[in-house]
Symmetry: C2
Subunit: 207 residues, 2 copies
Amino acid sequence: MMKLHCFGESGNAYKAALTLTLADAAWEPVFVDFFQGATRTPEFRALNVMGEVPVLEDGDLVLSQSAVIQDYVSSKTGKLGGKSAAERRDVLRWMFFDNHKLSGVAGPLRFNMNFLPEDKRNADVNNFMAMRLASALKVMETQLSETQWLAADDITIADIACAGYLFYTEDFTFDRADYPNINRWLTAIADQPGWKHPYDLMPRALG
Amino acid sequence: MMKLHCFGESGNAYKAALTLTLADAAWEPVFVDFFQGATRTPEFRALNVMGEVPVLEDGDLVLSQSAVIQDYVSSKTGKLGGKSAAERRDVLRWMFFDNHKLSGVAGPLRFNMNFLPEDKRNADVNNFMAMRLASALKVMETQLSETQWLAADDITIADIACAGYLFYTEDFTFDRADYPNINRWLTAIADQPGWKHPYDLMPRALG
C-alpha cells in the first residue's frame, strides 16, 4: 500500500492522488497539516528537502515532485503514459508547461486570493499572476481546440497535471465558461471511472 | 546538425544550449528576435503552440520545453543523465523543482527588473517574486551543503537546468555571495570543458 503525504487543498498533491486513483493503484493518504506549518518541520524536511507535498512512499522508496510521482505511478502500472517515445515526450512537455506556466502561477494565485489573511493580499501581485495564468490557459485552449487530449490520443498524466488546479471552485480568476475547450476537456476528465474532486480524494486541512 | 531556436537573454534557451554544448552534440543557434515579437507570430506558434523558446529541430523532430530538449539530448548522447533509475528520478525531480519554483520565478523577475520599461515595473510584484526566489535558492543551498551536485555523483542536466538563470549578471536579487554552496557549485559548472556564458553561446537580442 503506497502512502501519499498530502492535503486536500494542494493541487499538486491532487495530481498525484488522481493519478494513483485513475491508475487503480493501492494507496492511502497521510494527512499533512500544511496550514499549521507541518511542511516546515525538520522531520518533514528530512523526508523532502524541498518542503513540499506531495511525497509518495512506496516501501523504502521516497519520491517528491508531483510530476515525478505521476511518472513513477504511470510506469509502475503501465497506465496513463504515452504509447510511443513521441507521445511520452509530449506528455513530459505538457507536464513541464504545467509546472512552469500553469500550476506555478495558479497555485500561488489561489493561495493568495483565498488562504492569505485579507490584509496580506496584494492586488498588484494577484493581477500580475492572473495575467500570466490567462496566457497559459489560452495556450491550453488553443491546443484543446485541435486535439481531444493534450499529449496523446487518450488521457495521460499530462492532462491530470494540467487539470490539477482547475477543479477547485475557490476564485482564482479562472472561469470554465471563458474556455469552452478546457471546459469540455475537464468534463471528459471528470467522466473517467473513479474520478473524484480533490476534497473527496484527500483529507482537507481547512473546512 | 541540430538547430536550436534561441536568444541569449533566455535562461531557458541557455539550459538547452549548454546541454548541447557539454554533451558535445553538433548544433547551431537560430536567432529568435524575442523583443520584436518573434515568438508571437503565426509561424512561430505553428512551430510551438506554447509560443516560447527554446525549440529544438533534429531533422523532422521538433521539441519544445527546455527540460524535454535536455532530456532528449542526454538520452541521444548518453551523457549528463543519471546512471540508475533512482538517479534519473532525482534528475527529473530537480528539473521539475527548477521549472516550478526556481526558473519559473527567476525568469519573470529578471525580465521585470531589467527588460520592462521602468514605468511598467512594479515593486510589489517584484518583491513577491524575490521572496519566492529566495525560498527556492535556500532549498538548493541546503541540498548543495550536503552533496556536490544536485541529483547524482556527477554533473547532470538537473544542475544545468537549475543553473540556467544564475550566470546572468543583470540584477534580479540573486547574489552568489549570499549562497556559498550555490557559489561553489556554479564555479564547478563553469569549470566544465566547453562551458560558456549564455551571451557567448547564443546570439543576443539586446546589446
